[in-house]
């Protein structure tokens, strides 16, 4: 049997196995942990690149764990949405490269094996979440990534880190349980846990439509907590700003996107129920909440002085963009929303890693203390400026494409108010990111920042690579669009109508 056939399951098992052996390795040689994590995630990156290429060429791959019959066993279904695995493992690789010096400085030496183990578990949970075709397996993977996420927030040495982690845990656990309940509802009316089978059986369960609606509501609630949609976003700013910077990058760039992937899967499950359930009003409400999220997240970000807090609120705002794109029920907006999942992940990881490098070198995280940091760390600040321009959406960068598509979609759907909210949010975003650039370049530099003193190589390499990716995906926007378009079309043609 060809080994490439088993890539879908290996993609998930390699990081889990590496995470479990990490603690043993940490017992003998603490410095090997870094290389072991790097090794595992590199393998994942290669495997997911292979799988994405195959999906691009031949279409979705179905793999059945343990060679049970397709409907009995756990199915792994690798489709266009699962292409997120390449993003997850690639960004995970860069985050782990970045971690080396930062973590050695920030957290207790004895916790280092635990840290890498948790990072790998978190990545494994995300990889499993996006590739699985089984609803209960989806729940288990979600729990793996959430539990490791709570622990990662608490790992830092900050005074209220545990409190932020606890807040995250309570809200996260409530959302997980409502999703578990919803899965139970769906199982009770369809008798299946396979997503394809549920999608096929749901229209036949005509007598139990209220149950299906209750399940839909519980799913929406659960996933919007995970994705931090207004008004369920309150856990995000604390958790994301208090965690160590690589962890913030991981949580803010990737983990919140999991809720959105969950929402896409939900639309996939409910795609044949048109006529029995009208989901459009629900999507409309979410679109309004998303518009509020955009403006409110950006509004709060303007008043932050702490650079990581600002980035965390900006994540809230950008999640609003993605939700708006997905819920406008319009093909351009949907494409924009899905592409923004990818682009925002890249930009936000870049920005958090830059913030991490600055905090590592200077020890300050308040903007008012960072006057003139552009002279001390020119490369880091140049890359951060690219990130800032991308997140605002200035044309040659990748942030422009998605916002453009979402705005066009809002106009096409005859909902210009949403386009207005989008522009309004973009203006606020511009206002607060200008503050960063202003502080770094145009304020009178502090005396200790006069001398050039860059971050170590392990930090610069991921930052520069991500900045290049921001520019490349903006100029070569054709490639992600060509990949996303078929997925968006197929989702839209069957899902909501």
């Amino acid at each position: 049997m060809n080994i490439t056939h088993h890539f879908p399951i290996l993609l998930d098992m390699v990081p889990i196995a590496a995470a479990c052996t990490m603690l043993i390795i940490g017992k003998f040689r603490r410095e090997w942990c870094y290389y072991w994590a790097l090794f595992a995630i590199s393998i994942c990156t290669v495997m997911s690149a292979g799988l994405v290429w195959e999906v691009y060429k031949t279409g979705p791959i179905s793999y059945v764990v343990g060679s049970w019959e397709r409907w009995f066993g756990i199915e792994i279904y690798f489709d266009h949405i699962s292409a997120c695995t390449l993003l997850i493992s690639g960004l995970g690789l860069l985050i782990i490269i970045f971690s080396k010096h930062y973590i050695a400085k920030e957290i207790d030496e004895r916790k280092i094996p635990v840290y890498y183990s948790l990072i790998l578990l978190n990545l494994a949970g995300m990889l499993g979440f996006v590739i699985t075709g089984d609803l209960f397996n989806l729940f288990v993977m979600m729990e793996i990534l959430s539990l490791s996420g709570y622990a990662l927030v608490a790992i830092g040495e900050e005074r209220i880190a545990q409190l932020a982690a606890f807040k995250y845990l309570v809200l996260g656990a409530v959302s997980s349980l409502s999703i578990l309940m919803a899965i139970g509802f769906l199982y009770s009316i369809t008798g299946s846990l396979n997503m394809h089978e549920i999608a096929l059986y749901l229209p036949r369960a005509k007598d139990h439509i209220p149950v299906a609606i209750a399940a839909f509501a519980l799913f929406i609630m659960g996933f919007s907590v995970k994705a931090a949609l207004f008004p369920l976003h309150i856990w995000l700013p604390d958790a994301h700003s208090i965690a160590p910077s690589p962890v913030s990058a991981l949580l803010s760039g990737l983990v919140v996107k999991i809720g959105i992937c969950g929402l896409l899967r939900l639309l996939f499950i409910y795609r044949y129920v048109g006529g029995l359930i009208n989901v459009e009003p629900v999507l409309n409400i979410i679109a309004w909440l998303a518009a509020i999220t955009i403006v409110m997240g950006a509004f709060f970000a303007v008043f932050q002085d702490d650079i990581k807090m600002m980035l965390a609120y900006s994540t809230v705002s950008n999640i609003g963009y993605i939700f708006l794109g997905l819920c406008l029920v319009q093909s351009n907006a949907l494409i924009g929303g899905i592409v923004h999942i990818f682009n925002h992940a890249i930009i936000k990881v870049l920005l958090f890693l830059c913030a991490g490098a600055i905090i590592y070198q200077t020890g300050c995280r308040r903007l008012s203390d960072l006057h003139g940091v552009g002279r001390k760390m020119p490369i880091t600040m140049a890359c951060m400026s690219i990130g800032v321009l991308s997140i605002v959406g200035i044309p040659p960068t990748n942030g422009f494409i998605c916002k453009w598509f979402i705005a066009i979609g809002a106009m096409d759907a005859k909902k210009p108010l949403f386009a207005a909210a989008l522009l309004f949010g973009a203006l606020f975003i511009f206002a607060y990111y200008i503050k960063i650039l202003n502080a770094a370049y145009f304020k009178k530099p502090r005396a200790e920042f006069e001398k050039r003193d860059e971050a170590p190589m392990t930090m610069l390499v991921p930052i520069v690579l991500l900045a290049i990716a921001c520019l490349a995906l903006g100029v070569g926007a054709y490639f992600p669009l060509a990949f996303i378009k078929p997925a968006a079309k197929s989702l839209l043609s069957t899902a909501i109508r």
């Binding site: 288990v140 539990l147 209220i160 409190l163 982690a165 845990l169 309570v170 656990a173 997980s176 009770s188």
Partner: protein
């Protein structure tokens, strides 16, 4: 549907009614109680509600454990084993959540010397 029918339906599906009631009691506890330990007990009640829903879903009247033994008749009915298998996994998840939350609470108490949500909020903003 008049209210007699509603009562009738609730009577035949009382396991679901109890599961949903427990779920809501748990949610109320999480939202309304100030003590972090009580909040977490609310979460445990919600977990139990989910488990109850699954297990009662798979139950069959007069059903046997689905294990193949000699001398089974064709007419033997089995309970559905899948929910039980799922809930075993669910219990593992619940135990690890509980362990993590309790250890976080110990740390919070060490740092702040209180487990009251209101007092903690004041400490946080200081």
């Amino acid at each position: 549907m008049n209210y007699m029918q509603v009562i009738d339906k609730a009577g035949t599906n009382f396991n679901y009614v109890i599961a949903v009631t427990l779920f809501i009691i748990g949610l109320y506890t999480v939202v309304a109680k100030d003590n972090l330990i009580k909040k977490f007990m609310g979460l445990n009640i919600m977990e139990t509600a989910c488990f109850l829903l699954y297990i009662s879903m798979g139950a069959v009247k007069g059903g046997k454990a689905p294990i193949w033994t000699e001398g089974l008749k064709k007419s033997t009915v089995f309970v559905n084993p899948i929910p039980q298998a799922l809930i075993l996994t669910g219990i593992v998840v619940a135990v690890s959540t509980t362990a993590l939350a309790l250890s976080l609470m110990i740390k919070i108490y060490e740092h702040c010397e209180t487990l009251d949500a209101e007092k903690l909020k004041r400490l946080e903003t200081e």
